[in-house]
Amino acid sequence: DQQVKQNSPSLSVQEGRISILNCDYTNSMFDYFLWYKKYPAEGPTFLISISSIKDKNEDGRFTVFLNKSAKHLSLHIVPSQPGDSAVYFCAAAGASGTYKYIFGTGTRLKVLA
């Protein structure tokens, strides 16, 4: 049972354009969401988070949008840069009263120069 889903395994975007990465979840009890970036042979690094009391959080070029009614969140990267090329994971927590983070399967973003 995949509670957090990233349905696009890969995405290619031209440098300077917007990258939009999507994530869907099934459990309405999730109340905290994270996005991570992962380069090969490295551990994931934190990008941005959002709690369920908000619908948007922005940090520089990165913005996360949360649509609770649709159980959907998205990460926008504007403008995209070649260094953004990595695998992006979304994660959700809060469903069981603990903070066990459930991760999606990831989306590989390639930003073309």
Binding site: Y36, G43, F89, T98, Y99
Partner: protein, 113 residues
């Protein structure tokens, strides 16, 4: 160091042998997580420790897997009688507590021949 440290970085073992993976979390972090990433897959939750509470072991795939944590410090993940399907990168993460971002180590690449 200031980050999450995992050892060994690489481990090659023969099918049927036991292995022990170590994680040193960031000092003061009360929560510690183990995940694994098999080739081409997402991050799979294994186990979660939070302070002195009973660990959440719901992600351990079989009784060959076990983990311990000494207080709020080092954790070891033990895999007994390794199988080829155990081959993966095992990632450890720690956080200060609830609704706090996870800091990941670089992982242990386990290869079972």
């Amino acid at each position: 160091g200031a980050g999450v440290s995992q050892s060994p970085s690489n481990k090659v073992t023969e099918k049927g042998k036991d292995v022990e993976l170590r994680c040193d979390p960031i000092s003061g972090h009360t929560a510690l997580y183990w995940y694994r990433q098999r080739l081409g897959q997402g991050l799979e939750f294994l186990i979660y420790f939070q302070g002195n509470s009973a660990p959440d072991k719901s992600g351990l795939p079989s009784d060959r897997f076990s983990a311990e944590r000494t207080g709020e410090s080092v954790s070891t993940l033990t895999i007994q009688r390794t199988q080829q399907e155990d081959s993966a990168v095992y990632l450890c993460a720690s956080s200060f507590g609830r609704t706090e971002k996870l800091f990941f180590g670089s992982g242990t690449q386990l290869s079972v021949l």
